[in-house]
């Protein structure tokens, strides 16, 4: 049976792994290559790297880092941050990335999703969707959560799928960094409304939170950062717990 995936996320700033709360107050969490090796050895199913300060002059640093990671790890990995064009993606794939993720650039210009799907296949295109509650309605936000948009989360996700997205990485800004649990209800709604995999992100604080987002939230994968970086939860312990709870995981 297809297993539920556990995905550590490494937010990269100036070549280091960082982690903040609600996308601010960054603190250092170590060398990304060392962390990547550790996670692949500890049983992570996939890795996600988000270059949160990606600017044009720093792209070269990112592609070098991608190459270093690719030579060392034997599980799939996704790279995101500052991707605006087909050429941006070519460089990352040539350096060994398996998938890429787009966020703000796709909201600004949705055709980017179809251009990427056409050139590299849908399996390569993860659309990261950051969402926030406005008067009880989940809407899409961009620029690392700083800029609101009028897009309804449920509608934007369907549009992404129609344009050729292969997966959705859904992050709730309300939950991110809080360790109070994933946004289970909206994850369930979105996962059941599209027939492409949904990766739940934001809010993981305990092993029970993962169980909840897989069972009640219908997530196909769950992503977390700080609880893994700071060893609050070990991936192996998490997977053993999930298996006991009758959730299919790769052990």
């Amino acid at each position: 049976m297809l297993a539920k995936r556990i995905i550590p996320c490494l937010d990269i700033k100036d070549g280091r792994t960082v982690k903040g709360t609600n996308f601010v107050e960054l603190r250092d969490a170590g060398d990304p290559v060392e962390l990547a090796i550790r996670y692949s050895q500890e049983g992570a199913d996939e890795l996600v790297f988000l270059d949160i300060t990606a600017t044009v002059d720093k792209r070269k640093t990112l592609s070098d880092l991608v190459r270093k990671i690719a030579t060392h790890i034997n599980i799939p990995f996704t790279v995101g941050g500052g991707i605006n064009t087909v050429d941006d993606v070519s460089v990352l794939l040539e350096n060994g990335a398996d998938k890429i993720s787009v966020n703000t650039s796709a909201v600004k210009r949705p055709e980017l999703i179809s251009e990427l799907a056409k050139n590299f296949g849908s399996q390569c295109v993860v659309v990261a969707v950051d969402i926030k509650l406005f008067d009880g309605i989940w809407k899409v936000v961009t620029h690392g959560g700083r800029t609101p948009t009028p897009l309804l989360a449920t509608e934007w996700v369907k549009q992404c799928r129609d344009l050729g997205a292969g997966e959705i990485l859904l992050t709730s800004m309300e939950n991110d960094g809080t360790k109070a649990g994933f946004a289970v209800d909206i994850t369930a709604k979105i996962s059941q409304s599209v027939n492409i995999p949904v990766i739940a992100s934001g809010g993981a604080g305990s092993m029970e939170h993962f169980r909840e987002v897989f069972t009640r939230g219908y997530a196909d994968a769950a992503l977390a950062a700080s609880i893994f970086h700071f060893k609050e939860i070990e991936i192996k312990d998490l997977k053993e717990y999930l298996q006991k709870e009758n959730i299919v995981v790769r052990l």
Binding site: M1, L2, A3, K4, R5, S40, D45, A70, T71, H72, N74, I75, P76, L93, E94, N95, G96, D98, G121, S122, Q123, C124, G166, E167, N195, I196, P197, D220, A221, R250
Partner: protein, 194 residues
Amino acid sequence: MKTVIIKYNAGNIQSVLFALERIGAQAVVTDDKESILSADKIIFPGVGEASTAMGYLKERNLDQVIQSATQPLLGICLGMQLLCNHSEENDTPCLGLFDVEVKKFTSDTLKIPQIGWNNIHVKDNPLFKGVADNSYCYFVHSYYAELSNSSIATSNYEIDFSCALARDNFYGVQFHPEKSAETGEQILKNFLAL
């Protein structure tokens, strides 16, 4: 030993190269006929769309090169599907090395593509030496090869399908051994040892 990876317009070739490096093997990426046919092992990777990939192979006569190979050849993902008779993906006639039809997953309940780790049921074949039954491998695909006499491993995604095929010198795997952790590395080592 000379290992070549067939260069064409599909596939994340870099991942395969890095995986080979990790197990201590060198490979050359090429679309040169002589170079391919003089190799000891041929790897035919692939991620992409079937008809575009077949068109590209035909334009460069790489279809005939693959069909005339006598050394061990391993198709990966789309590479394996192209070794079959025909794919439903844009109704594409393929290379016909496995008498197998490639079909699209259709389901109201499943996510398509299948993305992630699924377990494989392996038969006794040198490609799976040292690989335990039910080992997990990493899959990304919307199309699958039907069960056949050539199946050497099967997997299940609502239905059973062939996740590895073998006939004579031709081998194919639907999953990505280059991204399937230690299990994948063992399978690549086994292929190079054929």
